[in-house]
């Protein structure tokens, strides 16, 4: 029997990967397989969070992450409430702080929040007694995405330490990239980032990654390619000349993989995919794509996170 980590989880919030230690990340990941097994049962539901209420406070559009969190909460028997920006009092001018405090006054236990401003969940955590899970704060962090990516890599390749992981695309606007870099480097992977110069933040090397602007260099020797979404909505500001040019320089195609990639390279994408842009059709659906595994694992990882945070909360209340 392998001895699991002796470390105790003490955090009330999950705000980012940056502040976590490697041991804390491993502690979360160690629990995930137990929750994943629950998802395969005839009745995929356990009573662990019965009587708890979790609010999904989403001030930015999201399908995948919100459904994933909602499902994770329901699989743990928690009650969920969805508050979205467009249909809430934000449009009437209520501040984030007021909205959150009002929600809290309704006696809820956890807030899962997404906001376009970096640090919004950190800001709220200073005023609010309930646990907060960051489900994406602008281009800053998206911790549960990084955890599910790391879990998926570990599931496919058996380890993280020593692996070469290339993150490709719009690094500058990507919270997924940032959280992934923190998680992967803490666990001992070698990370390369690749994308157009205009989408590469200055000083990114300080996070302990290698930078390249040449896609063949990012693909060669990589065990994992984590391909980010090109955020077309930001294209109005013209970070590169055209989508066609981006596809030609940075698009991942079967031909590119055949020429330069390791034989069993793992292809990941946080979704939603722009088919034919960052990933060609055949690669997105190809045998090395684990994109749908990422989605399945996402629910299990979020269950593990909600379960851990709830335990800390319960201890505090008693």
């Amino acid at each position: 029997m392998n001895k699991k980590s002796e470390l105790k989880w003490t955090r009330k919030h999950l705000l980012g990967i940056e502040e976590l230690s490697a041991e804390e990340i491993r502690l979360i990941l160690d629990g995930v397989s137990g929750f994943k097994e629950v998802l395969g049962r005839p009745i995929p539901k356990v009573p662990a969070l019965r009587g708890r209420t979790i609010v999904n406070l989403f001030c930015e559009p999201s399908t995948r992450t919100r459904s994933s969190f909602e499902l994770a909460a329901k699989r743990l028997s928690a009650d969920t409430l969805n508050v979205t920006a467009s249909s809430s009092s934000f449009v009437k001018g209520e501040t984030l702080k007021d909205t959150a405090r009002n929600i809290e006054a309704m006696n809820i236990d956890m807030i899962v929040m997404r906001h376009s401003c970096p640090g919004a969940p950190h800001f709220l955590s200073r005023f609010i007694k309930t646990s907060i899970v960051n489900a994406g704060d602008g281009p800053h962090e998206h911790p549960t995405q990084a955890l599910l990516d790391v879990y998926t890599i570990k599931e496919k390749l058996g380890r993280i330490e020593g692996l070469n992981v290339s993150i490709i695309g719009d690094i500058a606007h990507s919270r997924v990239a940032r959280s992934n870099i923190w998680a992967l480097t803490k666990l001992g992977a070698k990370v390369t980032v690749c994308g157009p110069k205009t989408l590469m933040p200055a000083g990114i090397e300080k996070m302990g990654v290698k930078v390249t602007y040449d896609i063949t260099e990012a693909v060669k020797g990589a065990d994992v390619l984590n391909v980010l979404r090109i955020q077309r909505e930001r294209q109005k500001r013209a970070f590169f000349p055209s989508i066609r040019e981006y596809v030609r320089c940075f698009g991942i195609t079967a031909e590119l993989l055949r020429k330069y990639a390791k034989k069993e390279v793992v292809i990941m994408h946080p979704g939603p995919i722009n088919r034919g842009v960052e990933l060609s059709q055949d690669v997105a659906d190809g045998e090395y794509s684990v994109i749908l595994d990422q989605v399945t694992n996402g629910v299990a990882v979020r269950m593990a996170v909600l379960f851990l945070l709830n335990q800390v909360r319960t201890t505090e209340v008693e």
């Binding site: 029997m1 699991k4 980590s5 105790k8 989880w9 160690d30 629990g31 397989s33 137990g34 929750f35 097994e37 629950v38 049962r41 005839p42 009745i43 539901k45 356990v46 009573p47 662990a48 743990l76 593990a304 379960f307 335990q311 319960t314 201890t315 209340v317 008693e318």
Partner: protein, 184 residues
Amino acid sequence: MNLRVKATVLDAGGIKRTLQRIAHEILEKNQGVEDLVVIGIRTRGAYLAERIAGNIKEIEGKDVPVGAMDITMYRDDLTEVAEQPVVHSTEIDFDINKKKIILVDDVLFTGRTVRCALDELIDFGRPACIQLAVLVDRGHRELPIRPDFVGKNIPTSMNESVEVRLKEMDEEEEVVLLEEKAGS
């Protein structure tokens, strides 16, 4: 809590003979291995389940399916335990519908763990029956639960505890009665 060993209740040989007897009793009561499955409660109950299934195989020459379950997600006392429980996997890779389940744990105490396990098993299907086998029954039940097969009854007081140590995960192989040190 500061504990000291008050007595060794079973040694390695004692555990072995007890598990053999339990296997015989299970076969006697169920008249063979038909529809029988053995499921242990993690962590030590899972090892005991493996051993009981091994004994059944030796006696009858037939394999019975063995599973292991983790009941952490069904607990109602997460706030009362000192150490933070780590979630392990439940591994029941067979259909339990209409099966006779032998549920195995190391020590039966308040009965709350067994309550969790029963709830969890019911979520997996509708077994024909569930029978409970424990290596040690130390009394002090808080729920109306009784074992069908008992290795050893050990009357205890509340400031004592029973620890089962198995070679699969511990250095020793024994069952010991521990008692709180006076003045601690």
